[in-house]
């Protein structure tokens, strides 16, 4: 059947439109997935940017917990953890550790007495190569119950609006529990005297496949000695790093790794809520810090203490924070490694 050139042209235009529509729909779906069409989505970029001081982040440094010092040592598992998790890291033995003591601040030059929260990052590498990484802090609970709440808190604390904090506290009354800890808990003059807590819950999977909801803490062998922030300030802005270097040079420092098992119904998805004190705890081994090294060329410098790097036998729970932390830490790592030239490193590079 002969067709007129005009009709053929019309058909062609219609078909070209179909092609454009197919390509367009796929492209729009892609843009939506990437978040380009959703300005309200809480992205890792926004979350990390909210941590930056008003003058912008310290280039080349971690975007939070920016001030820190490396250590090496061992984790000696006593075997008790195997009842809860099949991970090799809990089988009796001694496994190498690369860790980092740090202060929860975006400023790598902050004075010790200005930073309330202290942290410890740890990477344990058992022989099968299945690493366990964790980043803990000395606060017994997290300031807020949701990731969005944490972001809102950062935004409010940087805001010039007089009632910004009030609004966030009204929406997140759990923040007051954290504030009361921050005001009342004694300060110490040593990283070695701190207890470091996972805060987030995880699942331990035992040999039979059963899952146990747990949190963990590192309990120091050193006796904590209280000191006022004023007294700490008098000892100098970097006292903690000097103190831990001397202390470990004089003798290794130890912590017990205590695993707390939740009862059914305990708030596993909310790190702002402590579990009752009578929950079962299992001492699974000892962390020994044997050597301190400056971060600039130290073995912890290029490690991201991403709390979702877990061996088979440990997985994330319904706690929403590890996922958010992983996304944000990755963003922070990508930024700081790309800013290598701003970081005060020596030409020799970091030890591995």
């Amino acid at each position: 059947m002969p067709q007129s050139p005009l009709l053929l042209k019309k058909i062609s235009i219609a078909r070209l439109a179909i092609i454009a529509a197919v390509v367009g729909v796929v492209a729009v779906a892609f843009a939506y997935t990437a978040g380009w069409l959703s300005s309200n989505r809480l992205t890792p970029k926004k979350l990390v940017a909210s941590l930056a001081p008003p003058r912008g982040p310290a280039l080349g440094h971690r975007r939070n917990h920016a001030k820190g010092i490396c250590f090496t040592g061992t984790f000696e598992a006593n075997g008790n953890g195997s009842e809860l998790s099949k991970a090799q890291v809990f089988m009796p033995g001694q496994y190498p550790v690369v860790g980092r003591f740090n202060l929860a601040t975006a400023d790598p030059n902050a004075a010790d007495a200005m930073v309330r929260v202290r942290g410890l990052g740890i990477r344990i590498t058992p022989p099968n190569g299945q690493e366990w990484r964790s980043a803990m802090i000395d606060a017994p609970i997290f300031p807020v119950s949701t990731v969005q709440g944490f972001y809102d808190l950062q935004m409010a604390s940087a805001s010039k609006q007089p009632d910004a904090m009030k609004k966030v506290i009204a929406a997140h009354p759990e923040f007051l529990t954290f504030v009361s800890w921050a005001k009342s808990a004694p300060w110490t003059s040593s990283y070695a005297e701190e207890r470091y807590n996972s805060l987030n819950s995880f699942l331990f999977i035992d040999g039979s496949g059963a899952k146990h909801t747990i949190r963990w803490s590192l309990i120091p062998a050193a006796q904590p000695v209280a000191i006022s922030p004023d007294e700490l300030a008098k000892r100098g802005p970097d006292f903690l790093e000097k103190e831990i270097t001397q202390r470990v040079a004089a003798g290794p420092q130890r912590w017990s790794l205590m695993v707390t098992v939740a009862n059914p119904g305990d708030p596993a998805a909310d790190p702002s809520k402590a579990w009752p004190a009578d929950r079962r705890t299992v001492n699974v081994g000892t962390l020994t810090v044997q050597q301190i090294e400056q971060e600039a060329d130290g073995p912890c410098r290029d490690i991201n203490y991403d709390p979702t790097v877990l061996p088979a036998g440990i997985t994330t729970s319904d706690d929403p924070f590890p996922s958010a932390r992983s996304a944000a830490y990755s963003r922070s790592y990508n930024s700081r490694t790309a800013e290598e030239k701003y970081y005060p490193r020596n030409a020799t590079g970091a030890k591995q």
Partner: protein, 184 residues
């Protein structure tokens, strides 16, 4: 290198469509995961890594099949610039299918991350830990992903052009099945 066959062989066609699903999913997973802090982030990352390695393996198998069976010739009446574009796009797509997973693997290695596929299965590190190497590879992975997606969009537009406008049999060389298959 071409063959006198009018269509790609069945294994080539199977791999093409399987990989089309994998790669398109991979690109969506990639841009999706870096845009969220919800628990979807971890789920997507946990799919991204093994799927990337699966694509690498499939791409290598597919490249071998290409060397063995070759590709059907393009229609003789196709304009030269279109032929050139068609051939170049093949090279670009193969380079990305093989390159992207390797860059991703290298990027994780340079950042000292374990490359966990699933459960206790993890891959060895293929590069030394290095912030500058990590940055180079991370940028490459990021920008090439968008280039990959753009190339796929052009590939889709081109094949629809072959089918709907030219109707020259190029689409049929890779079509999963044809109406006349029953009579073959």
């Amino acid at each position: 290198m071409t063959t006198s066959r009018k269509r790609f062989t069945a294994p080539q066609r199977l791999l093409h469509w399987l990989m089309a699903i994998c790669i398109l999913s991979m690109l969506f997973i990639g841009v999706g995961m870096v845009s969220t802090v919800t628990s979807k982030y971890l789920t997507l990352v946990q799919i991204h890594k093994p799927l990337g390695i699966a694509i690498l393996v499939l791409a290598l198998i597919r490249l071998s099949l290409r060397f063995v069976f070759h590709a059907p010739a393009l229609p003789a009446d196709m304009p030269e610039p279109m032929k050139l574009a068609a051939e170049l796009s093949q090279y670009v797509l193969y380079a990305l299918m093989i390159g992207m997973p390797l860059i991703g693997w290298g990027m994780l290695s340079a950042a000292s991350y374990p490359v966990v596929l699933f459960g206790s299965v993890h891959l060895p590190s293929i590069l030394p830990v290095s912030p500058s190497l990590h940055t180079l590879l991370w940028h490459a992975h990021y920008y090439l992903a968008f280039a990959f997606f753009a190339t796929i969009l052009m590939h889709v537009a081109a094949i629809l052009f072959h089918k709907l406008i030219r109707n020259d049999g190029v689409f049929e060389t890779m079509a999963p099945m044809l109406p006349q298959d029953k009579s073959e």
